[in-house]
C-alpha cells in the first residue's frame, strides 16, 4: 500500500507548520522523517492519519483519501502519543479489543502476542497494572504493539525509540526490519535518534520549519552527513 501526499500544507494563523508539495512513498518502503523540534514531523503525521485538517492539499493511503473515507483505518496502524491508548484497560484487554475490531481470532491474537514476547520483556502482559499506571516506556510498548498487532499494511510511528530502554530499542529495530522484509509493510517513522532511523529506514526525509530540505536514499554516508547538518543548523542562522 503506497502513500501519496499532494500539495499538503497546514497553517496555524500566520505560521506554516508543514508544506509538502508532492511526496510518494511506494508500497513497502521504510520512510524516516527527521528534523528538530517544531520542524512539523508530528503535524505531517497527524494530517496523514486525519487527526488534523490540512489547510490545503490531500493525503492518500492507497487509493483512499484519508479525510474523505475511513476505509484506510482497517489496514493502517499508528501510534503517535499517549492519546492513542486507552488508560483504564489492562494491556491484554486493550489488545483483545483491537484484535476484535479487526476480526482476529483468539489464536491469531495469542500468536501475535507471542511474537512480541521479547519486546515486552515480561513487563506488559500478565500483570495487574492498568495501562495508565505503566511507565512511559511500557505505555509506548503497548501502543506500538497495538499498532502492529493486526498485520497492518501501513505503519505510522512518531518517535518510537524515545523513552525506551536500550535493549528494547534494539529489539524494536529488529522487529521493524522484519516487518519490512517479511510482510512488506510501508513504514513511516519519525525520530530524533539519527543512528536508529538511518539503520531502519531506506529513505530519509529531512524537514526544517515545515519544508522538505533533503530527500535521500540511505547510504553508509548518510548518518555522518546528517550529523554534520544538525550540528550546523543553529550556527548558520546565527551567522546570518
Amino acid at each position: 500500500m503506497d502513500i501519496r501526499i499532494e500539495g499538503l500544507t497546514k497553517t496555524f494563523g500566520d505560521y506554516t507548520a508543514v508544506q509538502v508539495d508532492s511526496m510518494h512513498i511506494p508500497s513497502g518502503e521504510s520512510f524516516g522523517l527527521i528534523g528538530n523540534n517544531g520542524a512539523g514531523k508530528t503535524t505531517l503525521f497527524r494530517s496523514l492519519i486525519d487527526l488534523i485538517e490540512p489547510s490545503t492539499g490531500s493525503a492518500f493511503i492507497g487509493e483512499f483519501e484519508t479525510n474523505k473515507t475511513d476505509s484506510w483505518k482497517a489496514f493502517t496502524g499508528s501510534y503517535l502519543d499517549e492519546n492513542f491508548i486507552v488508560g483504564h484497560l489492562l494491556p491484554e484487554e486493550y489488545f483483545d479489543f483491537i484484535a476484535s475490531i479487526h476480526g482476529m481470532s483468539e489464536s491469531d491474537l495469542a500468536n501475535k502476542l507471542a511474537e512480541f514476547e521479547t519486546l515486552f520483556n515480561g513487563e506488559i502482559t500478565g500483570g495487574k497494572k492498568l495501562i495508565r499506571d505503566l511507565s512511559k516506556g511500557n505505555q509506548k510498548k503497548v501502543g506500538i504493539a497495538a499498532a502492529i498487532l493486526f498485520d497492518p499494511k501501513v505503519l505510522v510511528l512518531d518517535e518510537p525509540f524515545a523513552n525506551l530502554d536500550p535493549s528494547t530499542q534494539i529489539r524494536l529495530k529488529e522487529l521493524l526490519k522484519k516487518l519490512k522484509n517479511d510482510k512488506g509493510v510501508t513504514m513511516l517513522i519519525s525520530s530524533h535518534d539519527l543512528a536508529h532511523v538511518t539503520e531502519v529506514c531506506e529513505r530519509i526525509v529531512l524537514l526544517e520549519k515545515g519544508d522538505v530540505i533533503e530527500d535521500i536514499k540511505t547510504s553508509s554516508e548518510t548518518l555522518k552527513n546528517l550529523e554534520n547538518y544538525f550540528s550546523d543548523v543553529g550556527k548558520t542562522s546565527i551567522e546570518d
Binding site: I49, D50, L51, I52, E53, D70, K73, A74, T76, S78, L80, D81, E82, N83, F84, I85, V86, G87, H88, L89, L90, E92, E93, D96, F97, I98, S100, I101, H102, K128, K129, L130, D133
Partner: protein, 501 residues
C-alpha cells in the same frame, strides 16, 4: 518569613492560573447566585437561631435557673450533633491541605516549614469560615444579652472546637487513606454512636450540654478543646513530616486489576464490545464510579417520598421519581459523553470503528443502566401499582428522547474530564449545555404529564410520555446516523481541544 510569603505567593498564582476557572459567563453567574444563596441561608439561620431555639418545646427544664442563658444552654444541647455532622460533611468535601511540594523538596527550605505552611493553610479553608456565617450573628446577640466574659469564653470554646474538628478530620482522612482499617474503625464508631443515640443508651443531649455549658461556666475547661486541637496539629505535623517523600505523597494509589475478558455483551458485535469497555471505564475511574454509585443511591429515594402522607398518591411525584430513577445516570454520565474519553480521543479517531457504532454503544449503555434501574424499582409497586406504569413510560421516554438529547449535548464543545477526582463539588467540564439538558430530560415529561392533569386523566399523561419515547426509539437509527455525521464534521476541532487541554 520571606519563604512563607513566597509560598503564599505561589499558592495564589496556582489558584489564579488554575485551568478550572470557568471561562463561561453563564456558569459563573449560576455559581455566584448559588453561592450567594447558600451564604444568605447560613446568615439568616444565624440571625434567627435564637428565635428558633426559644420556640422548640422543652420538657423538664426549670426556666428560672436558666435565666438569660436559656437560649445558649438550649443550643449547647445540640452542638455535639452539629459538630458530629460537621465532621462527616468534612470527610466528604474538605480537601487535604496540599501544596505541590514535589518541586520544593530539593530546595533549601526546611521540611518543618513546608509542613507548617500546609497545615496553616487549612485554617483558611472555607468550611471553617462557613461556621462563622451562622455563629457570628448569634455571637453578636450573645454579647448583648450575656455578661461579656461568659460570651467571650463560650465563643473561644466554639472556635477551638471548629479547629479541633479541622485538624482531627485532616488526621483521620490522611491516615485512613494510608490504612484502610482507620476508615473501618471510624465507620464502626459512627454506627455505634448513632445506634446508642437511637436506642437511648446514652443521652447525647446531656453530654453536649455538659461540654458546651462548661465553656462559659468554667473557663478552665477551654484548655481541653484547645489542647486536643494542638495535639492533633502535632500528630498531623509528625505524620506529614515523616511522609514528605515523593513516593508517599502521591495520592494516586494503584490498585491491582484483574483481567476481565469479553463477556455477554460482546455477542452484539463491536457495539456490545464497546459498551463492555465503557462499563470497565466507569468502574475503574473514581469520578465515573461515583456517578454510578449516586444513581444506585437514588434508587432509595422513593422510600423517603412514597411512605409520607404528603406525597401519597401524588402522581406528579411519581413522574419526578421516575425521571430521577431512570434518567439520573443518562443525564449525569451522558452530559460528558466525549469529555470522559478526552485522554484517548486520538485512539477513537484512528481505530477501525464507525462513529455510528460508537454512538450505538453509548445508547446501549444508557438502555442497560436505565432498564436495570427500572427493574430494581419494581418493589415500589407496593405503594401503588401506577408507580410501575409511570416508571415504565418515563423509562421509554428517557431512552427514546432523553438519551438522544444527552448524546447530542454531550458531544457539544466537550471538555476533557480529570477522572481521578470525585464528583462532589466538582465543576470541571460543566458548560451551558449541561444546564440546557434539564429542559428535555426533566421538563418535558413533567409538561406532558401536566397535559394529562389538565384533562383530568393521568393515563393520558402516562400515554403521552410513553408515546414520545416510542417515537424517539423508532427514530434512533436516524438520529445516531446524524450524530455520527456531526461528529465526523467536528472531529478536528474536538481532538485539537482535547490535545490542548
Amino acid at each position: 518569613m520571606k519563604v512563607i510569603l513566597q509560598l503564599i505567593g505561589m499558592q495564589w498564582k496556582e489558584a489564579r492560573r488554575s485551568p478550572l476557572w470557568n471561562k463561561n459567563l453563564i456558569i459563573n453567574i449560576v455559581l455566584a447566585v448559588s453561592f450567594l444563596y447558600l451564604i444568605g441561608m447560613f446568615v439568616l439561620l444565624g440571625v434567627f437561631l435564637d428565635d428558633i431555639l426559644i420556640k422548640i418545646s422543652v420538657e423538664g427544664i426549670d426556666y428560672r435557673t436558666y435565666k438569660e442563658s436559656f437560649v445558649l444552654r438550649r443550643l449547647n444541647q445540640y452542638l455535639l450533633y452539629y459538630f458530629f455532622m460537621d465532621l462527616i460533611l468534612r470527610y466528604f468535601i474538605q480537601k487535604l491541605p496540599a501544596l505541590s511540594v514535589q518541586p520544593l523538596l530539593h530546595l533549601p527550605i526546611s521540611k518543618s516549614k513546608l509542613v507548617h505552611f500546609m497545615l496553616g493553610k487549612s485554617i483558611w479553608s472555607p468550611i471553617n469560615w462557613a461556621h462563622g456565617l451562622i455563629f457570628v450573628p448569634f455571637i453578636l446577640e450573645l454579647f448583648e444579652n450575656l455578661p461579656f466574659d461568659e460570651s467571650l469564653f463560650w465563643s473561644i470554646g466554639l472556635v477551638s472546637v471548629v479547629y479541633l474538628n479541622n485538624f482531627l478530620l485532616i488526621y483521620i482522612k490522611r491516615t485512613s487513606e494510608v490504612d484502610f482499617r482507620v476508615y473501618l474503625g471510624m465507620l464502626a464508631l459512627l454506627v455505634g454512636i448513632v445506634s446508642a443515640d437511637w436506642f437511648d443508651l446514652i443521652d447525647f443531649q446531656q453530654i453536649s450540654a455538659g461540654v458546651f455549658n462548661a465553656f462559659f461556666l468554667n473557663p478552665i475547661s477551654l484548655l481541653a478543646p484547645i489542647g486536643i486541637a494542638a495535639i492533633f496539629y502535632a500528630l498531623n505535623f509528625r505524620f506529614l513530616k515523616s511522609n514528605l517523600y515523593m513516593d508517599r505523597l502521591s495520592t494516586s494509589k494503584q490498585s491491582e486489576i484483574s483481567y476481565v475478558g469479553a463477556g455477554f455483551l460482546s455477542r452484539f458485535g463491536v457495539v456490545g464490545r464497546l459498551t463492555e469497555l465503557e462499563f470497565k471505564f466507569i468502574w475503574r475511574n473514581k469520578r465515573t464510579r461515583s456517578v454510578l454509585l449516586i444513581t444506585i443511591m437514588f434508587l432509595g429515594y422513593g422510600l423517603l417520598v412514597f411512605p409520607t402522607d404528603e406525597y401519597a398518591g401524588n402522581h406528579l411525584m411519581y413522574v419526578l421519581f421516575s425521571v430521577i430513577i431512570t434518567g439520573m445516570f443518562i443525564l449525569n454520565y451522558g452530559q460528558y459523553l466525549l469529555g470522559w474519553e478526552g485522554s484517548h480521543f486520538d485512539h477513537i479517531l484512528t481505530r477501525k470503528v464507525d462513529f455510528s457504532d460508537y454512538y450505538k454503544s453509548k445508547f446501549l449503555l444508557f438502555a442497560i443502566v436505565s432498564g436495570s434501574a427500572m427493574l430494581l424499582s419494581i418493589p415500589y409497586a407496593y405503594f401503588g401499582w401506577e408507580i410501575l406504569l409511570v416508571v415504565f413510560s418515563v423509562f421509554l421516554f428517557n431512552i427514546g428522547v432523553g438519551s438522544h438529547c444527552v448524546m447530542f449535548f454531550g458531544s457539544l464543545n466537550p471538555k476533557k474530564i480529570d477522572l481521578s477526582k470525585g464528583t462532589v463539588l466538582n465543576w470541571q467540564g460543566v458548560g451551558a449545555a449541561q444546564f440546557m439538558l434539564v429542559i428535555p430530560v426533566l421538563g418535558l415529561p413533567l409538561c406532558l404529564f401536566g397535559i394529562g392533569v389538565i384533562f383530568d386523566s393521568i393515563y393520558l399523561g402516562i400515554g403521552l410520555i410513553a408515546a414520545f419515547g416510542v417515537i424517539g426509539l423508532i427514530g434512533t437509527n436516524i438520529w445516531i446516523g446524524w450524530l455520527a455525521k456531526w461528529l465526523t464534521s467536528q472531529r478536528y476541532k474536538i481532538s485539537r481541544d482535547f490535545r490542548n487541554q
